[in-house]
Amino acid sequence: MPKTIPVATELTQPFWDAVNEKKLVLQSCASCGKLQYPIRPTCWQCQSDRLEWKEVEGKGHILETMVVHDTRVVRRKGDVPFNVAVVSLDEDPSINFLANLPGTTTNEAPQGAAVELIFEEQEPGKFIHDWQVIG
């Protein structure tokens, strides 16, 4: 599954640098303690700009899974149909991610199943995080 490759900004560069080192780091608000993903200039909860980086373990669970049959992302057109799951992070279930669940057949993704973080290399040195069903 060739994914599009994110173009980092000054704000998001530390996040993508970590991904390229096969680590998942999220923003952690120094004011209210909330984790944050996607990356934003300020905390969604308290609007503080005192945001630090915190590495998380990379364990989660599938909330629900859609199946994409037609996509506006041209690079992914050859992959249809494919899963797009929403995965909650065990360390903070209010944080969720999109996931393609590589290795899981479409329409067979087990709702509520445990997933773990993986990193897929899209071009040399450029990785994308995804999630895979455990077991």
Binding site: K3, I5, A8, P38, M66, V73, L98
Partner: protein, 440 residues
């Protein structure tokens, strides 16, 4: 130009009854022809031409002369669709004036519209209030009512349109993603509410039971109501009712969302005249009073908002709109046209407003009952976007017609003295509460 309007927007809890409740009324409405697409060459079918058409029909409906209009409010650039700036691409070849720029073809500013109305023989010579900074019909209706209530205009024309041109749009081409799309495009999702609402819909089914199949009666009924709307896309171009079999075997775009759950883009413009209530006594039409309006804008906490978020947000919306209108609750709401851009989220509004006693988790049973316009629970009598094409205004024009009693074959048989409608999604919307009386 934009003028700051006191009291706008109404997004907070606890604002109480709207300070201008019953002091503003809709006294005219009109809409343009409807086409699937602008063909790129027909000058009588541009967004600008349709805008002029809608305004002229609204003025005629109201019985006023153009000289009596002193306010104009438009959404110049239909947001989120094929006419958005990023999808226009390189400049097209333009035409003779007034179509010598994008303005008038795929966007309409107030500046262009004022000139076009003059050229069309209906000059708006006495405008004192002009605003073209709103982005949706949900916002516009509330803002127009607020502007009149605050005294910025006595008779304000409000205009909203949707557009569609040839080709696909919002494509993410190339190998790289940037901006906010870096959090979605790599996994194959990009800039559409479809996936967000498909996800929340699946959570709904998990929480309350049921499946996508349970939406069939609602979607079929939307089409049925649309087929009773003579100017709508389906009444003009696909004059047949879809079946349950059609629905269950539809082509999926992003399961559980299929083509029949999605509104079809069209070219269409609608307009409404908002008047100060102290000016409506001798007007041609029965006034439809604005009892309240509210807006909502909620950022998602993470990549996707959840069912819990949508329920919390729409509960607040319903509570605030009833409060703004001085209504007790659903028992004071007769006609209800919530938004249906995707079939997968309309039940969120239905249950939040508890229309006809429908509470959280009840929508599928309600859809399976008699929701026809001639029945006891005529839900979304407009047919909405699903029944008419992506006008985003059909639910508003229908509401005016229902309250006036001129909805023809769609006329509901239940009491129709009050009504509410809104647009767009649970995460960002505006809603309005109307009544044939200046108070409940």
């Amino acid at each position: 130009m934009g003028i700051s309007i006191n009291g706008w927007p109404r997004t907070a809890e606890g604002l109480g009854v709207w300070e201008h409740s019953g002091k503003v009324a809709i006294t005219g409405y009109g809409y343009s022809d409807l086409e699937r697409r602008w063909d790129g060459v027909s000058m009588d079918k541009t967004y600008g031409a349709y805008a002029v058409q809608a305004l002229q029909r609204t003025i005629a409906d109201s019985g006023l002369s153009p000289d009596e209009i002193d306010g104009l409010m438009v959404c110049p650039d239909p947001a989120g669709d094929s006419w958005s700036a990023e999808d226009r691409g390189t400049p097209r070849p333009y035409f003779d004036a007034p179509y010598d720029s994008e303005d008038g073809l795929t966007i309409v500013t107030t500046q262009w519209l004022i000139k076009a109305m003059a050229r069309a023989g209906t000059p708006l010579n006495n405008l004192k209030f002009i605003d073209d900074e709103s982005s949706s019909i949900g916002q516009l209706t509330g803002k127009a009512a607020q502007a009149v209530g605050e005294g910025h205009a006595k008779h304000l024309l409000m205009l909203y349109g949707m557009g569609n041109v040839e080709g696909r749009y919002h494509l993410e081409e190339g190998n790289y993603s940037s901006g906010g799309r870096v959090w979605s495009a790599p996994w194959g999702w990009m800039t559409s509410a479809m996936m967000q609402h498909a996800f929340v819909f699946l959570q709904y089914c998990t929480k309350y039971g049921g499946s996508h199949d349970n939406l069939a009666p609602f979607v079929l009924n939307q089409r049925r109501n649309g087929l009773m709307t003579p100017w709508g896309y389906y009444a003009q171009h696909e004059q047949y009712q879809i079946t349950t079999e059609d629905y269950l075997t539809q082509r999926y775009v992003a399961w559980p969302n299929g083509l029949l759950d999605s509104d079809r883009p069209v070219n269409h413009v609608a307009s409404f005249l908002f008047s100060a209530a102290d000016r409506v006594k001798d007007m041609k039409q029965k006034p439809i009073y604005v009892l309240g309006h509210v807006q909502a804008q909620h950022p998602s906490k993470s990549t996707m908002a959840t069912l819990g978020d949508h329920e919390e947000w729409t509960d607040s919306l319903a509570r605030r709109l009833y409060e703004a209108a001085g209504a007790r609750g659903a028992e004071d709401l007769d006609v209800f046209n919530p938004y249906d851009g995707f079939a997968t989220f309309t039940q969120t509004y239905l249950e939040a407003f508890q229309w006809h006693g429908v509470k959280r988790g009840d929508a599928f049973d309600f859809y399976a009952g008699d929701i026809r316009v001639e029945g006891p629970h005529p839900f979304n009598s407009s047919g909405g976007n699903l029944g008419n094409g992506r006008t985003r205004t059909a639910m508003y024009t229908d509401l005016v017609e229902q309250l006036r009693g001129i909805a023809g074959p769609r006329q509901v048989q239940i009491k129709h003295e009050t009504g509410a409608c809104g647009q767009v999604t649970p995460g960002g919307n505006g809603h309005i509460f109307l009544s044939v009386n200046p108070s409940i």
